[in-house]
Amino acid sequence: MRINLQQVSRAIILFVFVIFIVRLHYTGDILKLINPKYLMLSKTAAILFLVLFIAQIKRILESDKHDHADHEGHNHDHGNAPFTFRKFISYAIVILPLFTGFFFPMSTLDASIAANKGAMLSLSNNTSKVDDAIEEETTEPDTESIEESTNNEVQQDDNVADPNLYSNTISKEEHDKLIDELSEQNSIEMTDQLYTTYHQEINMNADDYVGKEIKVTGFVYKEESFSANQLVLGRFIITHCVADAGVIGFLTEMDIAEELDEDTWVEAVGTIYLQEYEGDLLPAIKVTEWNVVEEPAQPYLYPISIKIT
């Protein structure tokens, strides 16, 4: 009769997973990993680990009276087989994320990752849609949203939708209204909450926005093909987890572009114009005012989900 060390270590590993997830939530680092939409799911994981841990504790206590001798040759390991090098490796693998999770700093994605993900590619991709998008718009006029906008005109001011960044779900009507309002504004502010929505709209109907003033924040990203006064003010957009992060942002033209290092966060005000980049016309910003800012506490953007009712 002896304590089964493997069962104990399994229990410990399960428990440390609980601590790991709780700690991520506690420190807020979890937002550097996943879209806030999935916070609940991740908490569920912590609870499930706790359930597994409790079951495992029970098993340590029972390990001798319920010897599992009848389990010989069973297709998976119950943690009672002799400890071998092979098992050492598999435990080491399971512990790896806990180790790096506790001891490595959580980093924020930066320009080097943007380069890997083909930032310019995704910036120019959205825009080549311009023609199609306009065509679609004219062939099937969206009567509903037109009605919507006329109805709301009176109470527009006190009814500005401001979806919370961390629960950013809005209805289709609210979304259409936001877009309608956007096209009427002369000065656009790209807030974190509405960045993705506005960005998509400006890219799809770039012609409508030329000449408007825009205020945007992002990190500096450069490419070899850029001219000296060009840079991209980019943001990472997280749909699900950091692994599926994509880059969005605007090509900008500013005099001191050369002096700004990559990954510097800049807040800039300028006017929208159309700039040709490798055969595509993209909406770009001619910057008039700018200043270097600290990296925001929450550097990532999350797409707004539109409820389809």
Binding site: I3, I12, L52, H76, P97, G118, K129, A243, D244
Partner: protein, 335 residues
């Protein structure tokens, strides 16, 4: 005496555990500054953890469902539910998969359990293929990612379903046994020896969770290695370099499928990435990314290796690759 010593040890280890928890919670950060590594390693670690944190809830739900199947579903139930005719069985399993909101990682332990319970391999694979590919969440996210256009989402579902049926038929011709790493006889004696039928519901639930623990330690390491590999690719392999390989219709489909395999994205999120490529590549290539990724990818292959014979996994990945690629190439004219 020995019993007393044992319970003392347990108490003792619990105390250490709690102490460790408190320590790490309060001092964990001071370690971070000691470790000096290139920045890209930290990026890779962050992406690695992000994939893992995102996948874990699904995997845990998966192993719990597997535990429930192990304890509550008998071989007799399965024999009654699954049609004898392989084609009918395949179509049924693909439909069940399509209604079942699972992801690539969560579904592997469930399928393993089903196969061990006597579900024929072709039906198991049908379920494995459509589970992550076709479900309400995936339809919705695909619809949204492509500017609220239903064409891509519909193509993904319908084509994906047909391809899944086709692959399952090929599997049913090529393989008769369940292809699990261990034989089915062992599974049956195991169940009999457990004699779950006569146990109380409470102890049945207990066994469900214990099975889930074993399943987690079985799957966990493969999930972790898969996530690590995917994070490595994302950090060190430039997508742009990959994309330059594919300029023609056919090669672009191949490149997008390769990208889907290497990136190992969750099927609920991949549409947004695919959408960002939608103007460099023709629709067929985009569909290749959207259909192939959920069926098989780096992370998922690693997990399948924990369940199936290596030879089967290699053949499975090959079959899926060839079928998806040929069907899309043949359909090229329609898009």
């Amino acid at each position: 005496m020995i019993r007393g010593f044992r319970s003392f040890l347990i108490d003792f280890s619990l105390v250490i555990l709690v102490g460790l928890a408190v320590y790490v919670l309060s001092f964990g950060d001071s370690f971070s500054s000691i470790i000096q590594l290139p920045n890209s390693v930290f990026h890779m670690n962050t992406i690695f953890l992000s994939i893992l944190i995102e996948a874990l809830p699904f995997v845990l739900i998966g192993v719990l469902i597997a535990g429930i199947i192990q304890i509550f579903v008998t071989e007799d139930h399965i024999k009654r539910w699954i049609p004898k005719n392989p084609i009918l069985a395949i179509i049924m399993s693909c439909f069940v998969g399509a209604l079942f909101p699972a992801c690539e990682c969560g579904i592997v332990p469930i399928v393993r359990r089903l196969l061990a319970k006597g579900v024929p391999i072709h039906a198991g694979i049908g379920f494995l293929l459509t589970g992550p590919l076709i479900n309400p969440l995936v339809i919705l996210s695909t619809y949204m990612a492509f500017g609220n256009d239903f064409k891509i989402a519909a193509s993904r579902m319908i084509l994906g379903f047909l391809i899944a049926v086709l692959i399952s038929i090929i599997i049913s011709v090529m393989f008769k046994s369940n292809q699990l790493k261990h034989t089915i006889e062992v599974q049956q004696t195991h169940t009999i020896s457990h004699n779950h039928g006569s146990q109380s519901i409470f102890s049945k639930l207990g066994h469900t969770v214990t099975h889930a623990v074993d399943e987690f330690f079985d799957m966990g390491k493969y999930l972790i290695v898969g996530a690590l590999l995917a994070a490595f690719v994302q950090t060190y392999v430039s997508s742009e370099a990959l994309l330059e390989l594919g300029s023609g219709q056919v090669s672009s489909t191949a490149v997008m499928m390769g990208l889907a395999y290497l990136l190992s994205l969750c099927s609920e999120a991949d549409a947004f990435i695919a959408a960002s490529f939608s103007n460099v590549f023709p629709t067929t290539a985009i569909l290749g990314f959207l259909i192939y990724g959920p069926m098989t990818d780096l992370k998922n292959t690693m997990m399948m290796l924990s369940v199936f014979k290596t030879r089967f996994v290699i053949l499975f990945v090959l079959i899926v690759t060839i079928v998806v690629f040929s069907v899309l190439t043949l359909l090229d004219g329609f898009y």
